[in-house]
C-alpha cells in the first residue's frame, strides 16, 4: 500500500464509522408487512396453505435482508479494514494491511450502489449509498468498495498504519 509522505505517525490511530440505510430499513419493513398481508384473502382468512408458506419464506428473506444489510460498521487502522454488516455484525470481513495494495476515495454513482453485500469473482461491494466511498485495491487484484461515513478519514488511518508498519520494519 502506498504510504503518504508524512512522518509524524501514531501507530494506533483508528477510524470507526457506521452507515445505516434508513431507506433499506423502511422499505424492508413495508415490504414485509405487504407480503404478509398479501397472504390473506378478502374475507380476512388465510388462502392456499402453500401460498402462505411461500409468503412467510419471502417475509423472512426481507427481514433477514434488513437485519443483515441495513447498516455497515467499518474499522480502519493497524489491523487493516474490518467491516461488520447489519444489526448483529454479520457477515463480517477483514482486509489486513498486507493484503491491501492501495486505498482511495472514489465517488460512487447511484446506479452502482449495491444496497447489500455483493460478491463477484473480481469485486466485493458493501455499499449503501452513493457519493464518496472507500475503494480498496487488493494484492490479489480484487476490488473492494465499502460505504463509510468519512471515507477520507478511513483512508488516512489505513495509510498512517501502513507508514507506521514500514517505519517499524526499517
Amino acid at each position: 500500500m502506498t504510504p503518504p509522505p508524512t512522518a509524524d505517525v501514531d501507530p494506533y490511530t483508528v477510524y470507526t464509522g457506521r452507515t445505516t440505510s434508513w431507506a433499506m430499513v423502511a422499505s424492508g419493513c413495508v415490504g414485509a408487512v405487504f407480503v404478509v398481508f398479501m397472504g390473506k384473502d378478502s374475507n380476512g382468512s388465510w388462502s392456499d396453505r402453500w401460498f402462505v408458506v411461500a409468503l412467510i419464506v419471502v417475509a423472512i428473506g426481507v427481514i433477514v435482508n434488513v437485519v443483515t444489510a441495513s447498516s455497515v460498521r467499518a474499522t480502519a487502522g493497524p489491523n487493516g479494514l474490518t467491516i461488520h454488516w447489519g444489526l448483529v455484525g454479520w457477515p463480517r470481513s477483514t482486509y489486513h494491511l498486507d493484503e491491501i495494495d492501495d486505498a482511495e476515495v472514489v465517488d460512487l454513482p447511484w446506479w452502482r450502489v449495491s444496497y447489500a453485500f455483493w460478491w463477484t469473482p473480481k469485486r466485493t461491494n458493501c455499499t449503501l449509498r452513493s457519493g464518496p466511498t472507500v475503494r480498496l485495491s487488493l494484492r490479489n487484484q480484487r476490488i473492494v468498495t465499502i460505504t463509510v461515513p468519512e471515507p477520507a478519514a478511513a483512508v488516512a488511518a489505513l495509510r498512517k498504519a501502513s507508514t507506521s508498519r514500514q517505519t517499524d520494519g526499517d
Partner: protein
C-alpha cells in the same frame, strides 16, 4: 470517529479512550444518539483489552456522556456536565459580544488571534 491512543503514555489507556469520545462529542463527530463501536471490536482495533474499553465507557456513563441499553450498546446522550459549563460560558461570551456590537465571526477571529 477517529481514535488516537498512545500505548507508551503514562496516561491510562481508558482515560485516553474516554478523551477520544469527549473530543468526538465536542467536535461533532459523535452527535447525540450516535452508537459507539462494541467494546470488543474497538479493543481489537486499538490493541487494548475489551475491559479497558468498557472501563472507559463506564467512566463516560458515570459522567453523563453515554448511556447503555441492552441490545443497543453505548450511545451518546449529551456532551456531559463539563461541556455544558463550557457551552454556557460560550453563550455568555456571545451575549457580551453582542452587547458590544460584535458578531460570532468577530469572536472566532479574536479567539484565533489569542496566544
Amino acid at each position: 470517529m477517529r481514535w488516537a491512543i498512545d500505548h507508551t503514555s503514562r496516561e491510562r489507556l481508558q482515560d485516553q479512550i474516554a478523551s477520544c469520545v469527549r473530543r468526538g462529542v465536542v467536535s461533532g463527530e459523535l452527535p447525540v444518539g450516535e452508537q459507539l463501536p462494541p467494546a470488543a471490536e474497538l479493543g481489537t482495533a486499538l490493541s487494548v483489552d475489551r475491559n479497558t474499553v468498557l472501563a472507559a465507557y463506564r467512566q463516560l456513563r458515570d459522567d453523563g456522556v453515554l448511556e447503555f441499553r441492552r441490545g443497543r450498546g453505548a450511545r451518546v446522550v449529551s456532551a456531559g456536565p463539563a461541556m455544558s459549563s463550557v457551552i454556557e460560558a460560550a453563550r455568555r461570551l456571545i451575549a457580551t459580544a453582542s452587547e458590544h456590537g460584535l458578531a460570532k465571526a468577530d469572536l472566532i477571529r479574536i479567539i484565533k488571534e489569542l496566544p
